[in-house]
């Protein structure tokens, strides 16, 4: 397979690799912390889907916006959020991004344009359209990346929000992360089309079907869609075909997926694949790889320590932040 033209320097490619690794290790730490009862509330891990968040977010500028989902840790890390404060939020600590009020499903860093993970399936899609509308009203050239799962595409909010963005040619990149299962529901039995991207035709916008485990392919498509949005030509719908390795969440471990299918997708590990691409380009030596892995492990270790040693919120804090 030909390497797509990515316009990424070797250093930028190594950064994509590092970012994917950081997501993977972060999620492993979340799972281990759940076992130790440190996680408060649910947590939905992103393991296996790392190329999607990293490929998309690497096409954004610093002042662009993004909306996320209940499975949002990967989007946050790809956007450059601090893993210490993320983990503290997941542990329900006062030092977390949302002071322990939001937890895993609501991590946000509004200062970085990360408008928030979302516990309502399909809830973030109209918000992305609205953020793009706000950018238009302010006459700014910012773009919004909107992440959602394939399960969300059967909500009315998906249709309403994309149609609205399309008629106003709003600067949104709609990113469907099709990991083939929405809780216990297989994609084929819940969705009348073969590809989510096929639905783009209903809104007269471009639809892209992408190998979501190929970070360069995701990045290349994202660059095109972001350019189109920024140029005022309207939204696109990108469908990253991928898979989650773990059961739905730490609270929902009953997993109806065929073990063969899970194994098949694990063999398409987006991180191992990209490592191979980098090695073949002589962009990553064994020593460099070891150094990156070590640096990532150190960040995670530091995050676990920070979150574990952070204070619980004061009970009185419960009644603060209700109104601006």
């Amino acid at each position: 397979m030909a390497t797509p033209d990515t316009n990424l320097s070797t250093d930028q490619q190594l950064e994509l690799y590092r970012s994917m690794l950081l997501i993977r290790e972060f999620e492993q730490a979340v799972l281990a912390s759940h076992e130790k009862r440190l996680v408060q509330g649910p947590a939905h891990t992103y393991i296996g889907m790392e190329a999607s968040a990293v490929g998309i977010c690497s096409a954004l500028l610093d002042d662009d916006y993004l909306t996320s989902t209940h499975r949002g840790h990967g989007h946050c890390i790809a956007r450059g959020l601090d893993v210490k404060r993320m983990l503290a939020e997941i542990f329900g600590r006062a030092t977390g991004y949302c002071k322990g009020k939001g937890g895993s499903m609501h991590i946000a860093d509004v200062s970085r344009g990360m408008l928030g993970a979302d516990g309502i399936v399909g809830g973030g899609i109209p918000i992305a359209t609205g953020a793009a509308l706000g950018c238009r009203v302010r006459q700014s050239s910012q773009v919004v990346a909107c992440f959602f799962g394939e399960g969300a595409t059967n909500q009315g909010s998906f249709h309403e929000a994309i149609n609205l963005a399309a008629i106003r040619k709003l600067p949104v990149v709609f990113v469907c992360e099709n990991n083939h299962w929405a809780l216990s529901a297989g994609f084929e039995v819940t969705t009348a089309v073969a590809n989510v991207a096929d639905r783009a035709a209903a809104y007269s916008i471009p639809g892209h079907i992408v190998d979501g485990n190929d970070v360069l392919a995701v990045h290349t498509t994202a660059v095109e869609a972001v350019q189109r949005a920024r140029a005022g030509d309207g939204p696109s719908l990108i469908e990253n075909k991928t898979y989650r390795w773990e059961p739905h969440s730490v609270f929902n471990t009953k997993d109806p997926r065929p073990p063969d299918e899970v194994a098949e997708w694990k063999a398409r590990d987006p991180i191992a694949r990209f490592r191979k691409v980098l090695e073949e380009q002589d962009a990553l030596s064994a020593d460099q790889d070891a150094a990156i892995q070590k640096a990532v492990a150190a960040l995670i270790e530091e995050a676990v320590e920070f979150a574990t040693n952070s204070p619980e919120p004061e009970p009185a804090e419960a009644m603060a932040d209700i109104y601006a």
Binding site: Q40, G41, G119, N154
Partner: protein, 325 residues
């Protein structure tokens, strides 16, 4: 002879029995067929009744509700599931503007025998979008019946009665009750809609509690009972229409009222009960009515914060102390 089963098993039995009894009863919702429901309430229904009557849907709450309304109009008795009651907000048009009103708007022609099941999932760190207790929203809408069972016995008898009721019923379960065990008779039984339960009799204070708060209120009653205070605990079971007579009679006897409800305070269900008692038994009150509710705040995830927001046993004990003066 009564056996002991869980709240979840009791609901499951009700569905099995009603689907067995009436071929027009069917279930529809997310993750209910193959998985048997997030909380296992629809367990094994797929094996027994097949995919035509046990239907996994896409994530489409508005369509689930509307399909329930339409199927009810067309002569069946759908039981639809929303997982968390918070997700019913997406289906509010069908629930509020359609299910609740079609009977009346058609001048009594149409009937919507629809059961809408959902869980209140507070107390486990699920956060602001998964921990609400929205019973007051539904009770506010003319045309809906609202039920909150607090025990396995009530869960089974009320769900069966709800399925046979010719009206739209919002049936609110509780995540923290699913694993609770209680006595449930082997044979068939139905409970009254409306119909409240005197959980505990006592002459000093009346405590009205709903859903999961019934056990919280009962344990508070036991606690103050050790000092000789006799608390009467009433569980309305059906919030709308409400069996007001039992509450009024009790307040006339005790002269003191505490209301315990898990929803947020302003315009909550406790306010409605307080208003009814003020209208019908004000002269009998020896102290101001106390409400014990969740705070007027979205539910936080962190345990210490969630505990601060949710009503608990100590809050009820405190309120009982205050009405006793």
């Amino acid at each position: 002879m009564a056996r002991t089963i869980t709240y979840s098993e009791a609901l499951n039995e009700a569905l099995h029995e009603e689907m067995q009894r009436d071929a027009n009863v069917f279930v529809l919702g997310e993750d209910i067929a193959v998985l048997g429901g997030l909380f296992q309430v629809t367990k094994d229904l797929l094996d027994k009744y097949g995919p035509e009557r046990v239907i996994d849907t896409p994530i489409s709450e508005a369509a689930i509700a509307g399909a329930g309304v339409g199927a009810a109009l067309a002569g069946t008795r759908p039981v639809i599931e929303f997982q968390f009651n918070d997700f019913m907000t997406i289906a509010m048009d069908q629930i509020v503007n359609h299910a609740a009103k079609l009977r009346y708007m058609t001048g009594g022609q149409a009937a919507v025998p629809l059961v809408m099941r959902a869980a209140i999932c507070s107390g486990i760190g699920m956060g602001a979008q998964h921990s609400q207790s929205l019973e007051a929203w539904f009770a506010h809408v003319p045309g809906l019946i609202v039920i909150m069972p607090s025990t396995p016995y009530a869960a089974k008898g009320l769900l069966k009665a709800a399925i046979r009721n010719p009206n739209p019923v919002v049936f609110l379960e509780s995540r923290l009750l699913y694993a609770i065990k209680g006595e449930v008779p082997e044979g068939e039984y139905l409970l009254d809609i409306p119909g409240s339960v005197m959980v505990r009799e006592g002459g000093d204070v009346t405590v009205v509690a709903t859903g999961r708060m019934v056990s919280v209120a009962t344990s508070a009653a036991e606690e103050v009972g050790r000092d000789g205070t006799e608390v009467e605990v009433i569980d309305p079971q059906t919030l709308k229409p409400l069996d007001t007579a039992t509450i009024i009679e009790s307040v006339k006897k005790t002269g003191r009222l505490v209301i315990v409800n898990e929803g947020s305070r302003t315009c909550g269900y406790a306010a409605e009960i307080a208003a009814i008692v003020s209208e019908q038994a004000l002269d009998f009150l020896d102290a101001p009515i106390e409400r014990v509710t969740a705070g007027d705040v979205p539910m936080p995830v962190a345990k210490v914060l969630e505990r601060a927001v949710l009503p608990g046993r100590d809050d009820v004990v405190g309120a009982i102390g205050r009405v006793l003066g």
